[in-house]
């Protein structure tokens, strides 16, 4: 039986879906669930990771360190991971996260500029903390020559685990199949993080598993940025169906899935159930970071312009995660053009 590691990003990527409002109680309830149900890894924090809570991106309800502390108390077998993008985060943020009990630091950024993760990785390595490379916006390095040479270079500094993150939800099953087929030859541990903008998150994840991915990012009800992530309860059921893993009690996952919206409501967290709404399809097609959707909606309303126009223009400029201020500019300029 293949050993598949479930990495649950509900409390991190999910933060994108609720304006980073996940609170203490949510973390308490969900981390207990993760521990009890043998989830291998639970990721915690602001949607954009360490150091990202800000006026531009959105302020989180509680600090990353508070969040880590609460989860830490509830996790024994389940490992605790954080997401870190250099540029938002500094080495001090990484140090604080480690000091408060983080097991795995997943350092990522836009795939085309992935070399900027090296400093943080080397810092973790020096401090003997497991650190992975997360290729955010993987489609930026879609051509084989590009990602093979990048992975080879990162292997040289000691990175062993690589996550292919389809931040835009633009990849199709045939793409994922090819990517993992090529990565397999490099003798590295790989993982996949899907988004459902074009409805392919589950199909992509199955292809990744078949191609040798060991780590699968999922979230309950697909709770995550844009059209959401690979749905955890479906993956657990599929692992059974594909005879890959029998260790999960599927019923427990159904139960959490059933209760999840109610738990959010009880915690006064405003959330519209995930399904692929048209704006998420548009950002997917445009290869944009899924987390942009709420901001695009907000600026479309504020400046009284079409959200699809913003999405198209942002796609043309290849905006990267974090450039929310440029979304504001695009909306502003669209409204000026409209007046003319």
């Amino acid at each position: 039986m293949k050993k598949i590691i479930i990495s649950d990003v509900t409390l991190r990527d999910g933060n994108h879906a609720v304006g980073h409002q996940i609170n203490k109680d949510m973390i308490n309830i969900y981390s207990k669930f993760a521990e009890k149900n043998k989830i291998d890894i639970l990721e915690i924090g602001h949607g954009n990771g360490l150091g990202a809570s800000s006026l531009t991106i959105g302020r989180s309800k509680i600090s990353n360190i508070q969040a880590i502390k609460i989860a830490r108390k509830n996790l024994k077998k389940t490992k605790l991971s954080v997401h870190s993008i250099p540029g938002f985060s500094t080495l001090d943020d990484v140090k604080l996260a480690i000091d408060n009990g983080t097991d795995i630091v997943r350092v990522g950024c836009n795939s085309s500029d992935i070399d900027i993760i090296e400093r943080q990785f080397l810092y973790c390595k020096k401090n003997k903390v497991d650190s992975w490379c997360v290729f955010m916006m993987f489609h930026q390095i879609y051509s084989k020559d590009k990602y093979i040479s990048i992975v080879k270079n990162l292997k040289k500094i000691g990175i062993k685990t690589f996550i292919v993150m389809d931040s835009a939800g633009i990849l199709l099953p045939a793409d994922v199949k090819k990517i993992f087929y090529n990565l397999k030859k490099l003798n590295i541990r790989t993982g996949f993080h899907g988004h459902n903008n074009l409805g392919c998150a589950i199909a992509n994840t199955i292809q990744a598993i078949k191609g040798g991915a060991k780590i699968i990012d999922c979230s309950i009800r697909g709770f995550g940025a844009g059209a959401g992530n690979t749905q955890l309860e479906i993956i657990v059921a599929l692992l059974k169906r594909l005879k890959i893993s029998n260790k999960f009690d599927v019923r427990e996952f159904y139960k959490m899935s059933d209760q999840f919206i109610k738990i959010l409501k009880n915690n006064k967290i405003n959330y519209k159930d995930i399904f692929t709404n048209p704006l998420s399809i548009s950002t997917g097609l445009n290869g944009l970071f899924s987390g942009f959707s709420p901001k695009i909606n907000l600026f479309a309303k504020k400046y009284n312009v079409s959200s699809f126009d913003i999405s198209d223009l942002a796609g043309k400029k290849q905006l990267a995660a974090g450039q929310d201020d440029l979304l504001m500019n695009i909306a502003h300029n669209l409204s000026l053009n409209k007046k003319k």
């Binding site: 006026l55 531009t56 540029g87 950024c109 070399d115 990267a320 201020d325």
Partner: protein, 290 residues
């Protein structure tokens, strides 16, 4: 006066060209260690006063004449360089263009101060946004938080910039806190991979207790003066204010269209720091205060 540049990366070469363009009295030289680097090859091709003798060759220059040393290496490398030359700084000037915490912060916008012998140029984000933050704080008393977001084109970020993202954030935050007194600040930097590259842009968010039309009017007057003054030494500098009614913050964007000396015009982030540094050469000549 001679102008000695150490480091032949994107910043070093751009600065060399800018210094030459200013036509200051005295020669300009550029040093590095690797004679096969892209920068070194460019220097040779363009017939620059170039040496691959590195810091040890540069040290020989310090025996005679007065010099300004422009450190265009990386935050890590500059510590070594500083330790070697610090004893020679009574006669010479040291301008650090890396984000290392060395030297006193200096921004040519505030040119009515004595120019320190050891200068920390902060970062491109700091150099361009700190004057705005300091001037805004003088007229708007209830600013409680400031956030600076820099977007630069991936292609304009050289090796040292990529390795120094950590120092970039720390040094910019520290400079904002120290110079404006706004310790409650945050700095974010994003690299943008788009092709063709996008022009660099900084956004400064000023969060206040409340914002009203009167304040925005005053802020716009301030901004007009800043633009006028900074354009003297960064010609492509343009700061603009954005405000939406009922919000408790306003935003100033700074765009710098580069003069396209070494990299194309999108790399205005380079121009901020190289133009400001070259202008120090001009100020020192003008003030004759070395």
């Amino acid at each position: 006066m001679r102008y000695l540049i150490i480091g032949s990366g994107k910043i070093g070469i751009d600065l060399y060209i800018k210094l030459k363009k200013l036509n200051l009295p005295g020669d300009t030289f550029i040093f590095n260690r690797n004679k096969n680097s892209i920068g070194a090859k460019y220097c040779k091709k363009k017939n620059f006063n170039y040496s691959s003798g590195g810091i040890s060759h540069l040290m020989k220059f310090l025996q005679e004449e007065k010099n300004i040393i422009f450190d265009c290496t990386s935050a890590q490398a500059s510590k070594n360089i500083y330790n070697k030359i610090k004893k020679k700084l009574n006669k010479n000037f040291y301008v650090n263009l890396t984000p290392a915490p060395l030297g006193k912060y200096f921004i040519p916008y505030f040119s009515n101060v004595k120019i320190p012998h050891s200068i920390n140029m902060i970062t491109c984000g700091g150099q361009s946004s700190v004057p705005v933050i300091m001037e805004m704080k003088k007229v708007i008393k209830d600013i409680k938080y400031v956030e600076v977001i820099s977007s630069i084109a991936s292609q304009s970020a050289g090796k040292a910039t990529r390795e120094n993202i950590n120092e970039y954030i720390i040094n910019t935050q520290r400079a904002i806190g120290q110079l404006s007194g706004l310790k409650n600040n945050k700095v974010i930097i994003n690299l943008n991979p788009s092709k063709p590259p996008v022009n660099m842009m900084n956004s400064i968010f000023f969060e206040c207790k409340n914002v009203n039309g009167k304040k925005i009017k005053e802020a716009n007057v301030v901004l007009k003066n800043i633009n006028k003054t900074i354009k003297k030494y960064i010609p492509g500098y343009n700061a603009k204010l954005f405000y939406k009614k009922s919000e408790k913050f306003f935003r100033v964007t700074i765009r710098v269209v580069g003069s396209g000396d070494y990299l194309s015009t999108f790399a205005g982030n380079l121009d901020i720091i190289t133009s400001s540094s070259a202008y120090i050469g001009h100020l020192l000549n003008e003030k004759n205060n070395y």
